[in-house]
């Protein structure tokens, strides 16, 4: 019989990623029907997944911005032949 520990420590992620066999999936679904605590845990673990998917992209590092600015500057120069317009 599947326990809360089994679910929280190994099966919950695989359940959300649809990586379980039909037998395991059935076991998890049955457990979730009878266990409010695990329902809460799986719901909140799914929320963590959504959280990471919606996380705003961190601003680029200063060095990346400078490198991009440098590339754009050189492209502009090569097209116009002028350092500034």
């Amino acid at each position: 019989m599947l326990t809360c520990r089994d679910l929280a420590q190994t099966l919950a992620s695989d359940y959300l990623d649809d990586q379980l066999s039909w037998r395991q999936r059935l076991g998890v679904r049955f457990h979730l029907l009878i266990c409010e605590h695990c329902r809460r845990f799986v719901h909140q673990l799914a929320l963590v997944r959504g959280l990471l998917a919606r996380r705003p992209e961190p601003p680029p590092a200063e060095s990346e911005v400078k490198a991009l600015a440098g590339r754009l500057y050189h492209q502009h120069q090569s097209r116009t032949g002028h350092p500034h317009e």
């Binding site: 929280a8 190994t10 909140q44 929320l47 963590v48 919606r54």
Partner: protein, 111 residues
């Protein structure tokens, strides 16, 4: 890539469960029940970046490829040259760490 973060506690802490496998204490019910609600807190966004930065490289790579880039597990296996079983373990450990951070934030307002 050999760092699977095997020593992580968090949700793997045996103290969270009774001998019979039931929760020793019920999981905390979070006040914020949507990603948008959590991400609306500036402090929370900082905590999220901190916990992602603190993950072992292998866990962070798998988590980023799966959740941020939206790749399938098989694609992640190919990119990182690791087995499907390892991808699944790394992914669960990384999610568990983020889960533990959210738990802490919801309980204390800090991480």
């Amino acid at each position: 890539m050999e760092d699977y973060g095997a020593g992580d506690a968090g949700l793997f802490d045996p103290g969270r469960f009774l001998g019979d496998g039931h929760w020793a204490q019920e999981p905390l019910l979070w006040h914020d029940q949507s990603p948008e609600a959590l991400l609306s807190h500036e402090d929370f966004r900082e905590c999220l970046e901190q916990v992602l930065d603190s993950l072992p490289e292998a866990q962070r790579s798998v988590l980023t490829l799966r959740e941020y880039q939206g790749l399938e597990l098989e694609q992640i296996c190919n990119i990182l040259s690791i087995s499907a079983a390892n991808v699944r373990v790394l992914l669960h450990r990384a999610r568990a760490k983020v889960y533990a951070m959210v738990d802490q934030f919801e309980e204390t307002g800090a991480c």
